[in-house]
């Protein structure tokens, strides 16, 4: 009797909802909150490579943070990360938006071609990195060959081994990789704008630019906010491309925070240093995530 009552409680009503919440929260606690807190804790401790199995380690206060700020590579890597994120997102978004608008025009095969664009995004970043490595190769790369054939350059550009170019080469590959994702999300947003608004504006004599500036852009606001927020998060996660293309070199010219964090944690085993970089990135991502959540809420209120 009691059992069947409990089963009924679980099956419908409050009990069922509660179970769902508990399951989701448990999952988050184990797979998201715990590693996150563990990383933050490590950034305040002295971590040795053989004390990874325990949480009890000497407390280091803010020492890891001050050590990090005093490293000669700190400022250049932070600056590289800013350039990497800003340029990647600016170009991914504008090109993605332009393509989304382009495919919105009803021409034969437009939906299929738009689908094909996703192929690039499906490829693992390591594979994309290997392909771009061949394109960017200094002596026998495709890009140099193309530019020389077009008469645009004379000598070789060492895209990956010249410190003046390395960061921008990684950014170009990352832009290419991110465009399809931006385009699809923005296409979905565009599809949500009711067609009669445009019709009405057209009847009132608004030209194509006026329609874009006064209807498309404002109505896409929340979507754009969400796409930018997701873009920042994905770009800050972009580790594989750096690993495949330059390993942060030459001379840290293309090193970015996420790769630096990995280098410290798993190459030189300065685990607290790696955790400190990761913690600062978490703080930044939380800010961006809040913006994302708020813009999604605004989107829902439409």
């Amino acid at each position: 009797m009691l059992q069947s009552g409990f089963a009924k409680y679980l099956r419908d009503g409050k009990g069922f909802e509660g179970t769902l919440i508990v399951a989701a929260v448990l999952y988050l606690l184990v797979f998201a909150a715990f590693p996150l807190i563990y990383t933050v804790v490590m950034s305040f401790q002295e971590v040795d490579m053989f004390t990874l199995g325990t949480l009890v380690r000497p407390f280091a206060g803010l020492q890891n943070y001050t050590d990090l700020f005093h490293r000669p590579e700190f400022a250049p890597i932070v600056w590289n990360t800013v350039i990497f994120v800003t340029l990647s997102i600016a170009f991914q978004l504008t090109i993605g938006f332009a393509l989304a608008l382009f495919f919105l025009q009803d021409f034969p095969g437009s939906t299929y071609v738009r689908g094909l664009f996703l192929a690039g995004w499906i490829l693992p970043a390591l594979v994309v990195g290997a392909v771009w490595r061949w394109i960017f190769a200094g002596d026998f790369g495709v890009l140099n060959y193309a530019l020389q054939s077009l008469g645009l350059i004379d000598g070789q550009i060492y895209w990956l081994s010249d410190p003046a170019y390395a960061l921008y080469s990684v950014i170009i590959a990352n832009i290419w990789l991110g465009i399809p994702f931006n385009m699809i999300l923005l296409s979905v947003g565009l599809a949500g704008i009711p067609g009669d608004v445009y019709e009405a504006a057209e009847m009132d004599g608004a030209n194509v630019f006026q329609r874009f500036l006064t209807i498309t852009l404002p109505m896409m606001g929340p979507t754009l906010g969400a796409v930018i927020a997701l873009g920042v998060i994905f770009t800050l996660q972009q580790f594989d491309l750096v690993a495949a293309l330059t390993q942060g070199g030459p001379a840290n010219a293309s090193n970015v925070a996420q790769y630096w964090s990995w280098q410290m944690s798993f190459q030189t085993y300065e685990i607290s240093g790696g955790a400190t970089v990761a913690t600062m990135m978490i703080a930044l991502v939380i800010v961006v995530a809040v913006i994302y959540v708020r813009s999604v809420q605004r989107e829902q209120s439409f």
Partner: protein, 402 residues
């Protein structure tokens, strides 16, 4: 009652003796690609020792140190594992590996007198041997004899000093064809430290004397090769396999790389290629080369160290097969193959192995190596000059190894 008790006693003794007779199973973590060395050795060993079974788990190179650290810190280490040789000191310094010195000294199979000095020094920390190298590999100078002839160089007299390397490299370089005279790897990983140290060592430097005049001259020499465009600026991003591919394609006349490339080159290279000893600074300077290869280690927590060592003895007893079947030089200098593959290359590398010097040993090797990599990259990109870069590296290293 009494009978029951007796019966129980009989049963329990039977059970105990059954446990004793049961075969021991060794947990082994092996890094076995692409040659399946440990797996093959294990099969042969099991056939000869039916009371010992080996349960082999394969690990990959990128994870091996991380896996070891995780296993040791959670008390789940196997009975036998493999480490890249510069990592032995790091792990041993935490007092988690078994000291093998006494077992080696007492062994009837292993004779420490015959060890090549490089590999065993690399496995030694504070006078005790913690690693058992499965063999050793080292660097040599590979050159394209066809390009030598075309450039008017004598392929029977490969360059042996730095000056000769520069001169030959200049002749082998053809900017129009994007053909370079010389190649090495200065990529921002362990590989560049591995490649650079022999040059510094031949000029009297080492990892802990990295800002000596000799080390500075070595780095300036590398820098000049790139500045003079007889080596491609791509050395900053080429790892050793990439470098090998450029050599195979005929784009680089001479490269420095390891004996592990022999099987590939024998299969893929379409021209007359040969091998010579690593160049030295000038006639009479000491010879030096790098030392790579994996080593076995027994974690202290192993319940079966004797059986694990018995397996290592078996591997050692098969050393003379290493070169022909697996492509590296054995730990045992006297274990020469009967009919070596690539006989000229074999004699070069067997000679070169005598001068192979390890990296470190240092318990903080990855950080030491990182300081050297940074100096190399900063110098070749002209971010700073060789002397300043190596002074910085030396200061970092001094802080680490104190």
């Amino acid at each position: 009652m009494m009978r029951k008790l007796l019966l129980g006693l009989v049963f329990s003794t039977a059970a105990t003796s059954a446990v004793i007779a049961a075969p021991v199973t060794l947990q082994v973590w092996a890094l076995d690609e692409p040659v399946h060395f440990t797996e093959n050795m294990a099969k042969e060993f099991e056939a000869k020792n039916p009371d010992i079974k080996l349960d082999i788990k394969l690990v990959n190179f990128a994870n091996i140190l991380n896996d070891t650290i995780r296993a040791v810190s959670t008390n789940t280490a196997p009975d036998l594992l493999m480490l890249d040789n510069p990592d032995i000191a790091s792990v041993a310094s935490h007092d988690v590996l078994l000291d093998l010195s006494d077992r080696i000294a007492a062994s009837k199979v292993v004779d420490a007198k015959n060890f090549y000095p490089g590999p065993i020094n690399q496995s030694t920390w504070k006078g005790k041997i913690y690693g058992f190298p499965r063999g050793g590999n080292t660097l040599g100078l590979y050159y394209n004899a066809d390009l030598f002839k075309a450039a008017g160089l004598d392929p029977t007299k490969p360059p042996q000093t730095w000056d000769e390397i520069s001169a030959a490299a200049a002749k082998l370089t053809d900017a129009k064809k994007r053909q370079y005279g010389f190649g090495f790897s200065a990529v921002a990983t362990e590989e560049s430290t591995f490649q650079f140290l022999p040059w510094a060592q031949s000029a009297g430097g080492d990892f802990n004397a990295i800002n000596t005049d000799g080390s500075v001259r070595a780095l300036q020499f590398w820098q000049k090769l790139v500045d003079d465009k007889v080596a491609t600026p791509e050395v900053l991003v080429l790892n050793q396999p990439d470098l090998g591919s450029q050599f195979v394609a005929g784009n680089i006349g001479m490269i420095v790389t390891g004996c592990w490339e022999l099987p590939r080159f024998a299969k893929e290279v379409k021209f007359d290629w040969r091998v010579a000893l690593m160049p030295i600074e000038k006639a009479g300077a000491p010879r030096a080369s790098a030392l790579g290869e994996l080593a076995y280690a027994v974690p202290k927590t192993s319940a079966h160290p004797d059986e694990a060592f018995k397996f290592l003895e078996y591997i050692y007893s098969q050393s003379s097969r290493d070169w022909n079947e697996y492509g590296w030089l054995p730990l045992d200098q006297t274990a020469t193959p009967k009919d070596p593959k690539w006989p000229e290359a074999y004699s070069v590398f067997a000679e070169q192995m005598k001068y192979a010097r390890g990296r470190g040993p240092s318990p903080v090797w990855p950080k030491v190596s990182k300081a050297i990599q940074t100096a190399i990259q900063d110098t070749l990109t002209h971010k700073t000059d060789a002397k300043t870069a190596l002074d910085t590296a030396q200061a970092t290293i001094d802080g680490l190894i104190k």
